[in-house]
Structure formats: structure tokens, C-alpha cells
């Protein structure tokens, strides 16, 4: 078959495009792969417990002590090298792709340079094995080793430096203060949220990358680099490249050693192949699909070892792996089945990666699949043509076969997406593991253009982590910079800058309420507002004040990361760091963004609607009456509580312009204050509108709100309508939700948006159920909705899972942006997911 004809044929996976799997069967560990090795592999990975491992922390500390006087970037490079050279490594049974994240399978390495005091505090006072969810075990030996380095890191970790550099105003709204905008991810962890330039790595190999750096170093004009910053940077890059090469070669040597002792000839042969692969790609460009996968896996793993960031994403796997696939098939190097098995084994290898998060973060982002390692499939190519390949289908089949929640798969749809791909996508969605999520090129590409990326780069976008659009290989997007609760802004706007529920119980009482102060600026009292427009004005003023402060805080964090944690290894893999001689953390990338997200759209919109309708129009309630009811957490005001939760009030999510326009105002105001602000890496801010699961954490710091929330209840999730403990505010079904949500401007929210759907299995069964699901997504996308994901599970199942967690150990659900084992989630999050309106049509 010629190249040309191979391309013209319709892409197809190893199963027919319309192969169906049982609906709502999202359990893992059921031997659903046709490859026995994959099933064995999954079961083995599932069995083990999660642990915490000290080795990385010890080796990094050792290097920091030894090279104390080196420039920071060199010190960081030597620290990475010390880890890669000395950490224990292993290759387990059935593995074909070698590699570990500087810790055994399912063990979390520790990153003391990012943050360490909470690790020590939790180890002592909140042992991880006693957590209700996100549980980890630690050996006595590891614990001892961690204690040994505790004193070294006092005052040195990024989190401590950041907090010491923020003033009272900059702290008061954050997770360290009143907690209505959360900076904790990048305060305690690394940045992540990026994709390495794999095309470049595959074209040149590590030798090629080294060559590039050497050339730059040799041609460096000392006059232009008086302080030697560039020279240091290049030297650091070289140190990390060489360390990476040695890391690959250590695996090669290990494979040979195990092969020598191996009795079964087949496994012996496999181990020798692993050795050959590791050795070859340690320096050279890969020649086969198998080699490319080995390089992809281990090169990515080293990024995860270098820094504590998550959502280090894979990108457009079905594009950059396609040439290897085609070559192997045409040359007879591998069969389609061989490739399929490799993809599935590779997917499972993502379960190796886990990172320990502090106990507050895991309330908001629970579920340990914190790799955030996304793969993007389908969509258009750089020229705008449909980019579907055989691998697109094969990856979706692999998701159906492995059902492990990783990697996080996004399928891009566009106007010319083949029907076959839509059917395959819908069929995999209907299994109910929450995978894949679906992205809309019609919204994401314009949003990306608006952010300032070129047309080609925009068409070539991929999804990092949960939600965010990224150009891949040339971007440092700080996509998860903050979660900002806009519902709290409405609260401050109707209460003259004071918190509702202000009192001694508040952590800040002594330097705020007790002193007669207010948290935010004085923007007037609801009772004195002559019209509803005054409410909106106050909302706007509060928003400006708080967005200013949030951005100041983020900028402080950014500068501390630049100073303390340069990333020379990652810099070799992101355009144009080497070219410019600037570290990726300091603005070396082609594109530099910062993306903080708004949370609580529904809560804010319904709160505004209740105020507008009841106080200013129907005059059924007075301003004092409402504020009193909120202060008292509705006690004594049960009729009002019932009323604001009833369909007698306009509510967002019902295709009702009254409330939907308020939702639009609420989000537009946020976007207007965030967008186009410059950041300190030469890029700009991009607003996002989604919560992932931060809505539960943000709810925990907010008192009762006018939409009918009681104190501490989660605020609304992502773009979804409100559901309070009194019930769901959306009553008109999916088409109304789709229309309401698309009245918001998704293209403006250029960092990403998300709508979570929850369907009961009965409404998506059969061919008609499938086609109606496709039609729903199509209409949502025609109306420029950006991103949807689905839970196909009945309330009954979730209730049973809460009651009998043992029976549902492997039940996967969609949280938001990612899937996780339901029984592993925090209680507030479990109830939040259960409360999302179930769309059932029996």
C-alpha cells in the first residue's frame, strides 16, 4: 500500500467504530482489555497501596548542601542529576515500557524545595494513612530520612518565602487568610500545566538537544551576558540533558541484568528489547513506535521529577505518534494489535505517577490521579483539515479497555469531525468512567487566537490538565494560577465590604471584625441602594479591588518561582528557551500566560436574581430582611429559604434570560478585570471560568448566600446551575442548560470553561440514546460552548457506593476535568457530585 492510499482510507481502530460497551459500567479491574497482559498489569497496579518515598527529597537536599554556593540554576540542575543518578530503580513483571518517577510505582516523591513544613506537620499530626481519602503509607525509614532534612528547609521552601513576601492585604483574601481565592496550588507545588515539544525531541533525540545548547553556548557573546546568567543557564541545561541520558542508560543496564537471570525465553527477549530501546533513545531519535513510547514516557517522567507541578500533559498523541505507527505498519515492524497493546500498557503506566498533596488541597482536588497528564485526540491539523487518525480510535478503544481514569483524554470536535469518531466518542462516554471529555474547536480556536497565539498554533492546541487550552511545546501558561470565588464578591457587594457571618469564629476576627474593620472596600449597603444597578456597580468595584490583590499575590509567587526554582531540564523541551537563553520559569517560552479561574457562576447569578426580583421588583423582602436571614443562616426565615430555592425565582440554567444575563454579567465582570493584564514573564493574564472541584473548598469558607445556599455548602460547580441542599435550581433539562450556559462568552474565558453533565444510564442507552447525546453535544458546540464532560451513573449507584464503599472500590466518576475513584473522594465532593442534577428521562 502506498503512503497516499493509506492516508485516503477512513481511519479505524482495532474494533469497529460503533462497537458498544455496556452503559454505565465504569468499574476498573474487570479484565476489560482483550490483552491478558494488560489485565494482569492493571490488577497488579490496583492491588498496591500508595506510599510516600523519601529518596528524591534526600538526594535533592544533599545536592543543595553540597552545591550551596553554585548559582541557583546550576544548583537545581545538579540536584536533578543527583536524583537521576542515585535513586533506586526497578522494572516490574509484564512491563514493556520502563521508568519511574524517582520513586517506586504508586509512591509519591517529596519536593522540599517547593514546600516542606506541611509535610512534616502532617507526618506528625495528621498521618496520611489515617486520612479518610487520598491515603498514603510511609515506612519508618522514609519518615526518619524526611525528619533528617527538616531543619535544612526551614524558611527556604518556596511557600515560606512567598508567604513572607506577601503583605497583609495581599494575604487576606487567599487560602492563608479568608480563603475566597485560592493560590495554594502554586504556593505549595510546582507549575506544571504544560506540554514538552515531543516533535522536536523525536526529531533530534537528546544528542540533538545537547548539540543545540552547545552551539548556543559557544556562540554566546560575553558582552551581552555580563552577569553570566545565560552561560549558567546553558551549563545547567547541559547538566540535565546528560543526567537524563544516564537515567535512560541505567534502565538499559538494569534490563540487561534482569534478563540475564530471567528463565522464560519470551520475557528474556522482552527485557533485552527494553534494554535496546532505552539505550537507543537515551541519545538518538526513536525509529519505531515502541521506541518513541519509551522516550515519551521517560522524558515526561523526568519533567515530573524535576518539579512538583501536575498536569504535565502529553498533547496530541494521535498526531505526533502517527508517523511511527504508519512506518511500523507499512514495514511490518509491528501489527495493529501490537501497537494497541503497547498503547494500553503505556496508559496504565500513567498510574505510576502520584504526588502527595496537603490535606487542605485534597479536600478541593481529591482523588490521587493528580498527574493531570492529558492526551488530546482528533480536531483539526495546523492547516485546518480533519486530523483524525487510526490512533485516535485506538486511544479511545484503549480507554474503553483499561478504564483506569488515566491518562485524561480529551477529544476535539470540529465541524468536519467524522461521524464515526463521534459515535466512538459517545460509546466510550457511555461506559461511564467520565472519559473522554469533549472539546469544541469552534470555541477553543477563536479563544486561543484571542489570547494572541498564531492561527497555526491555535489550530494545534491541546488540553492541559483539566480544562485549559495550550499551544503545546512552546508555552508556559501558569494555567492553574488561582480559583477565585465570585460569589464572595457579591456578598461583599451587598454588605458594604464586610463578610456576612462575621464573628469570633473567623480566623481573622482579631485583626478585622473586632477592630471594626471590613475586609474589602466600602461600597455601600444594600438597603441604601436605590436600584438594582447599584448592586451591580458595587459588585464591579469589589471585583476590581480583589482581582488587583489576587494578581499582586500571583506575581509575587511567580517571581519567587523564577528566583528559587529555575527548570533547566524542562527548558530544553520548550521553545524558545534555549534560543533566548532564558529559563522557562523566567519567560523563556514563546507564549507566557497566567490563568486564574472564576468559580461560583451559578451561585452568583441566582443570588443576584433573588435580590433583583424579591427586593427591587416584587418588594416581597426588604434588604435588611434578606441580610438578617443570611446572617442567621436562614434560621427563622425558612419560608424565604424555601422561596429562593423554588422555581418561583428566576434561576440560571433554565434558558431564562433574566437569570442568564446576570450570569453573563457576573462572569464578564471577572473576565474584564483579569484579561490583558501583563504578567512578569512578558505575557498576559487569561481568565478561565470553571472550578474543577475547588467549589467545595471555596464553599467551606463562605457563609449563607442569597441564592439559597446555607453556610459552608459548596458553591456551584464550573458553569453548572445551582444545586443546594434544598434542591436543584435547574428544572428544564439538558437543552435548557446547554442554552443558558452558552449565553456566556466562552471565547472570552480563554483559559477554559467546563460544563459537567450527569445523565442517568437509561437516557443514553440504545442507538437513539447515543444519537441524542451526540446531537446535544453538537448543539452545545454550535452555540460555542467550549467543553463538556459526562457522568453516566445513577444516583442510586452513588448512594450505594457511599454506603458500601468496599463493593464500589473501582467505580470511576467524573469530578471535573478528571475522573477519580468515587469512594476515594472527600465527603463534601461526593455529595456535590451526587447533587448535580441527574438528567433522566424515563
Amino acid at each position: 500500500m502506498t503512503l497516499q492510499s493509506a492516508r485516503k482510507e477512513k481511519p479505524v481502530g482495532i474494533t469497529p467504530f460503533d462497537r458498544e460497551w455496556p452503559v454505565s459500567d465504569g468499574h476498573m479491574g474487570k479484565n476489560t482489555s482483550p490483552f491478558p497482559r494488560v489485565n494482569r498489569f492493571i490488577n497488579r497496579v490496583l492491588e498496591g497501596e500508595f506510599t510516600v518515598d523519601h529518596q528524591r527529597a534526600s538526594l535533592v537536599t544533599e545536592a543543595y548542601q553540597k552545591y550551596e554556593r553554585e548559582p541557583q540554576v546550576i544548583k537545581c540542575a545538579l540536584a536533578l542529576a543527583n536524583v537521576l543518578d542515585n535513586v533506586e530503580i526497578s522494572i516490574t513483571e509484564d512491563e514493556l515500557i520502563a521508568g519511574e518517577m524517582a520513586a517506586p510505582m504508586k509512591a509519591a516523591p517529596i519536593f522540599p524545595e517547593h514546600s516542606f513544613s506541611w509535610v512534616m506537620d502532617e507526618m506528625k499530626n495528621h498521618p496520611w494513612h489515617k486520612r479518610l481519602h487520598d491515603r498514603y503509607y510511609i515506612s519508618k525509614h522514609s519518615a526518619k530520612k524526611l525528619r533528617e532534612i527538616e531543619s535544612f528547609w526551614k524558611g527556604k521552601s518556596i511557600d515560606e518565602v512567598v508567604i513572607s513576601e506577601m503583605n497583609e492585604d495581599e494575604l487576606k483574601g487567599t487560602n492563608i487568610g479568608r480563603g475566597f481565592y485560592l493560590l495554594n496550588l502554586y504556593m505549595y507545588g510546582g507549575i506544571g500545566h504544560l506540554q514538552a515539544n515531543y516533535e522536536k525531541l523525536f526529531a533530534r533525540g537528546f544528542y540533538g538537544l545537547r548539540e543545540e545548547v552547545l552551539e548556543k553556548l559557544e556562540s554566546l557573546d560575553k558582552h551581552e551576558d555580563p552577569a553570566g546568567a545565560k552561560e549558567n543557564f546553558y551549563r545547567a541545561e547541559l547538566i540535565t540533558i546528560e543526567a537524563a541520558i544516564r537515567y535512560f542508560q541505567r534502565y538499559a543496564a538494569l534490563a540487561v541484568k534482569i534478563a540475564e537471570k530471567e528463565k522464560t525465553p519470551l520475557r528474556k527477549q522482552e527485557l533485552n528489547i527494553i534494554a535496546d530501546n532505552c539505550r537507543w533513545v537515551s541519545t538518538n531519535p526513536p525509529r519505531t513506535f515502541f521506541e518513541a513510547l519509551q522516550l515519551l514516557y521517560l522524558a515526561t517522567t523526568i519533567i515530573l521529577i524535576e518539579t512538583n507541578g501536575h498536569s504535565v500533559s502529553i498533547g496530541r498523541f494521535d498526531q505526533f505518534m502517527e508517523p511511527f505507527y504508519r512506518r511500523d505498519i507499512e514495514s511490518g515492524e509491528a501489527t495493529k494489535e501490537d501497537i494497541q497493546e503497547l498503547i494500553e500498557l503505556y496508559f496504565i503506566k500513567h498510574l505510576w505517577w502520584t504526588k502527595l498533596r496537603d490535606r487542605l488541597t485534597v479536600i478541593a482536588n481529591s482523588g490521587r490521579g493528580m498527574g493531570g497528564d492529558s492526551i488530546t485526540l482528533g480536531g483539526v491539523d495546523r492547516e485546518g483539515n480533519d486530523a483524525t487518525t487510526d490512533l485516535t480510535f485506538m486511544c479511545l478503544d484503549a480507554i474503553a479497555h483499561t478504564r483506569s481514569g488515566v491518562p485524561w483524554v480529551a477529544v476535539r470536535w470540529h465541524e468536519q469531525t467524522p461521524w464515526e469518531l463521534k459515535v466512538k466518542t459517545a460509546n466510550v462516554i457511555r461506559i461511564g468512567t467520565g472519559q473522554p471529555k469533549v472539546f469544541n474547536d469552534q470555541a477553543a480556536i477563536p479563544a486561543s487566537l484571542r489570547a494572541g497565539r498564531t492561527l497555526e498554533d491555535s489550530r494545534n492546541y491541546h488540553v492541559v490538565g483539566c480544562v485549559e487550552i495550550d499551544s503545546g511545546g512552546k508555552e508556559y501558561g501558569w494555567h492553574d494560577a488561582a480559583y477565585f470565588n465570585i460569589a464572595k464578591i457579591l456578598e461583599l457587594a451587598i454588605n458594604d465590604g464586610r463578610c456576612i457571618g462575621c464573628g469570633e469564629h473567623c480566623d481573622r476576627w482579631e485583626n478585622c471584625g473586632e477592630m471594626g474593620k471590613r475586609l474589602g472596600p466600602q461600597t455601600g449597603k444594600l438597603a441604601e441602594f436605590s436600584s438594582f444597578d447599584r448592586v451591580l456597580e458595587a459588585y464591579d468595584r469589589q471585583m476590581e479591588y480583589w482581582v488587583d490583590l489576587m494578581i499582586r499575590g500571583i506575581e509575587i509567587m511567580d517571581r519567587v518561582h523564577q528566583r528559587l526554582k529555575p527548570l533547566p531540564y524542562l527548558s530544553t523541551l520548550i521553545d524558545d528557551c534555549t534560543e533566548k537563553g532564558i529559563d522557562v520559569s523566567a519567560g523563556g517560552a514563546r507564549y507566557n500566560f497566567t490563568g486564574p479561574q472564576a468559580v461560583g457562576v451559578g451561585t452568583t447569578a441566582d443570588g443576584m436574581a433573588a435580590i433583583k426580583q424579591l427586593i427591587f421588583e416584587e418588594k416581597k423582602v426588604t434588604a435588611e430582611g434578606l441580610l438578617n436571614a443570611l446572617e442567621n443562616n436562614w434560621v427563622g426565615d425558612e419560608p424565604l429559604y424555601a422561596l429562593v430555592n423554588s422555581d418561583k425565582i428566576h434561576h440560571y440554567g433554565n434558558d431564562d434570560d433574566y437569570a442568564d444575563e446576570l450570569a453573563k454579567f457576573a462572569t464578564d465582570t471577572y473576565c474584564r478585570h483579569v484579561e490583558n493584564r501583563p504578567n512578569c514573564r512578558g505575557g498576559k493574564y487569561l481568565p478561565g471560568v470553571y472550578s474543577v472541584s475547588a467549589n467545595t473548598a471555596l464553599g467551606l469558607t463562605q457563609w449563607a448566600s442569597a441564592d439559597g445556599r446555607v453556610a459552608l455548602e459548596p458553591v456551584s460547580d464550573c458553569l453548572g446551575p445551582v444545586h443546594t441542599w434544598a434542591g436543584s435550581h435547574d428544572t428544564k433539562g439538558p437543552s435548557a442548560i446547554a442554552k443558558s450556559v452558552t449565553k456566556l462568552d466562552h471565547i472570552r474565558a480563554a483559559n477554559g470553561t467546563l460544563l459537567n453533565w450527569k445523565f442517568s444510564p437509561s437516557c443514553v442507552t440504545g442507538e437513539t440514546g447515543r444519537d441524542n447525546l451526540i446531537a446535544l453535544i453538537d448543539v452545545y458546540f454550535d452555540r460555542r460552548g467550549m467543553h463538556s464532560q459526562f457522568n453516566i451513573v445513577s444516583r442510586e449507584t452513588l448512594e450505594n457506593a457511599i454506603k458500601n464503599p468496599e463493593e464500589y472500590r473501582y467505580l470511576l466518576v467524573r469530578v471535573a476535568g478528571y475522573s477519580a475513584f468515587f469512594v476515594e473522594l472527600s465527603k463534601p465532593l461526593q455529595y456535590d457530585i451526587m447533587g448535580r442534577t441527574e438528567l433522566s428521562f424515563d
Binding site: 419560608p639 424555601a642 422555581d647 437543552s735 435548557a736 446531537a775 454550535d782 452555540r783
Partner: protein, 324 residues
């Protein structure tokens, strides 16, 4: 000219329904039904006039609220029956169905079944989801009750929807004068109807009316070559004997010449008990113990097979697409 200001009673306009007709549809439930089936799952649609439904569990307490008592014009001797600090029911004898209490209730403990809509209002609601109909091959379905109880209102809605190019589906019991069908059918793209029992006696016992007129109308519908879907609600112990199903089959191949798109056998679900209670209507199947899922599922599948031996395009359930 369609009278867009014509009014009728609608209990619910449900968007995104997927089981009553092809594609994604908006279903308009109209009030009033000529039948009174023992197993009806939409009892709020039986009586033609608006009424109040009572959900005591949602009542937040007379001491805290009591808005309904103040609103009820029956005053001291309120039509609302209370007990343990809650509204429990309505004394339908003294209630004038003025609906004041439901309007006043903040908690949806009292709700109105049957609101007055103009044709324009219904059609506007239907138009909201046109993009969904276009993508999925859906449209509007009139249901109830029986939409033909308010046939002039229904006809106006159907006509106006057709004007907008929307696919129309009519679910009717066919207990109606044939002349009305002749007037309505030109505005209908698909008819869905039930055959509940072939035995006139049993039909009367279970539904309150004879089946003669119904079967006659269905035969006429088929003769006119109207696209027709027939549904058999399979109620264990009532109409699920092979004998009855075979009689139905003979009727379909004989009188209808098998001119049906599909025959759907629907399982009985004990839905609507809550609604019966809220309306103060006794539920004829309260004590009925439905058999285990495996049993009825198997039974329905075997009855579908039986119909197929007659060459009838029968399916179990309502979610497979008619062929042709």
C-alpha cells in the same frame, strides 16, 4: 388563520424528552383524559380543570409559614386540611380551585396542576429547542391526558408548529369522534396510540370505557396511512396473556393491514403514586406487587417475539428507532 390567543390547560411542557417520538423533543402535556386507566402514571392529567397537588413532606410548617392558610378564601373553615403543623391534603369539596394557596406557598408543597396557556405561549416554548430538533430529527409531541380533549387548542398548536417546520407527534387514546381526527390529522406527522386490551369488557374495567370506538379510530388512522406507532403497556396480570397479545396481533395484521411503523411493548412501572396522593385520588394499583425485573423483562421480550411471528415490527421498550 390560527388563533394564537386561544387558551388551554397545560400541566407541563417538558423539554428534551427522548422516548415519545424520534429525536430530541419538547413534550406538551395537556390536561384532561376520556379514560381513567387503573395504572395511569399521569393522574394529574386526567381531570380537565386545574387543581392543586399537596406534598406534605415539603411543607415547612404552619408555625413558620402558614401563607397558604391566609391565602385561602375559604377562610376559617379553610379547604386545607392540616395535621401535626403541616398541610396534609385539600378538602376537595370546599376547595374552589382558586389556586391562591399554591401561588402563596414558597416551598412547592402546594403546586398547581394545569395552567392556562395561550397557543402562542406554548409555541414559543416549543421554538426554544429548534436547534436540538434539527440535529436529532426531533420535534414536538402533544401528550397528556389526551390532547384531543382540548382538540381546538391542540390543533392550533400543531398547525402553528407545522408553520415553523417542526415535526409534530400526537399521542392520543382515540376515544373521540372520528370527525375530529379528520380535522386534526393534516397537521400531524406521527401518531402514537395505545392498545390496552382487546376484550371490550376488560377494557371497560381497566380504563372506564369500551374499546370499540378506539379500535375503530385506530383502524381508520391506519387506513389513512398515517405514520403510526402502537404501544402496549404490558401490565402483569392484566393484559399480558398470550391470548390477549395474539388478539392484538390479529387486529394489527387484519384490521390495520400491519400498517404500523412500530409496536412497542412498554413495561409497567409503579410511577405516580406520589402524584395520586397529592391529588387525593385513590391509586388502583396501590397493592399491586410487580414481579421481579428479570421476570417481566423476559415476558416482554417473549411477547415481542410472539408479535414478530405475525410479521409485526414489535420491540420491547421505546428507545429503538422504527425502521423505515
Amino acid at each position: 388563520m390560527t388563533d394564537l390567543n386561544k387558551q388551554g390547560y397545560v400541566t407541563n411542557i417538558q423539554r428534551y424528552t427522548i422516548h415519545d417520538g424520534p429525536g430530541i423533543r419538547t413534550e406538551v402535556f395537556l390536561k384532561g383524559c376520556p379514560l381513567n386507566c387503573k395504572w395511569c402514571s399521569n393522574p394529574e392529567c386526567i381531570r380537565p380543570a386545574p387543581e392543586v397537588g399537596v406534598y406534605p413532606d415539603r411543607c415547612i410548617g404552619l408555625d413558620k409559614c402558614g401563607f397558604c392558610l391566609s391565602a385561602c378564601p375559604a377562610g376559617e373553615i379553610s379547604a386545607l386540611k392540616t395535621e401535626n403543623n403541616r398541610v396534609m391534603a385539600i378538602n376537595r369539596g370546599s376547595c374552589t380551585a382558586c389556586l391562591s394557596c399554591a401561588k402563596a406557598c414558597p416551598a412547592n408543597a402546594l403546586i398547581t396542576w394545569g395552567k392556562l396557556y395561550t397557543v402562542q405561549e406554548v409555541v414559543d416554548a416549543v421554538l426554544e429547542d429548534v436547534p436540538f430538533y434539527n440535529k436529532s430529527g426531533g420535534g414536538v409531541t402533544l401528550s397528556g391526558g389526551d390532547p384531543l380533549i382540548q382538540w381546538e387548542f391542540s390543533l392550533a398548536i400543531l398547525k402553528e408548529c407545522k408553520e415553523h417546520g417542526i415535526h409534530t407527534c400526537l399521542e392520543t387514546e382515540h376515544h373521540i369522534s372520528p370527525g375530529i381526527l379528520n380535522i386534526v390529522y393534516p397537521s400531524v406527522d406521527l401518531v402514537i396510540t395505545d392498545i390496552k386490551h382487546m376484550d371490550p369488557q376488560k377494557h371497560r374495567v381497566y380504563t372506564g370505557v369500551d374499546n370499540k370506538l378506539i379500535l375503530h379510530n385506530i383502524a381508520e388512522t391506519a387506513k389513512k396511512e398515517m405514520p403510526l406507532v402502537i404501544r402496549i403497556p404490558v401490565i402483569p396480570g392484566h393484559n399480558d396473556s398470550r391470548e390477549n397479545i395474539e388478539a392484538t396481533a390479529r387486529f394489527i395484521v387484519g384490521s390495520l393491514k400491519n400498517r404500523v411503523l412500530q409496536v412497542q411493548l412498554l413495561p409497567y412501572r409503579q410511577l405516580g403514586i406520589e402524584k395520586y396522593r397529592s391529588l387525593g385520588i385513590p391509586y388502583g394499583m396501590e397493592d399491586f406487587q410487580p414481579p421481579e425485573r428479570e421476570i417481566w423483562e423476559k415476558n416482554i421480550l417473549s411477547l415481542a417475539e410472539l408479535l414478530k411471528t405475525y410479521g409485526i415490527p414489535a420491540v420491547a421498550g421505546s428507545s429503538s428507532r422504527p425502521s423505515g
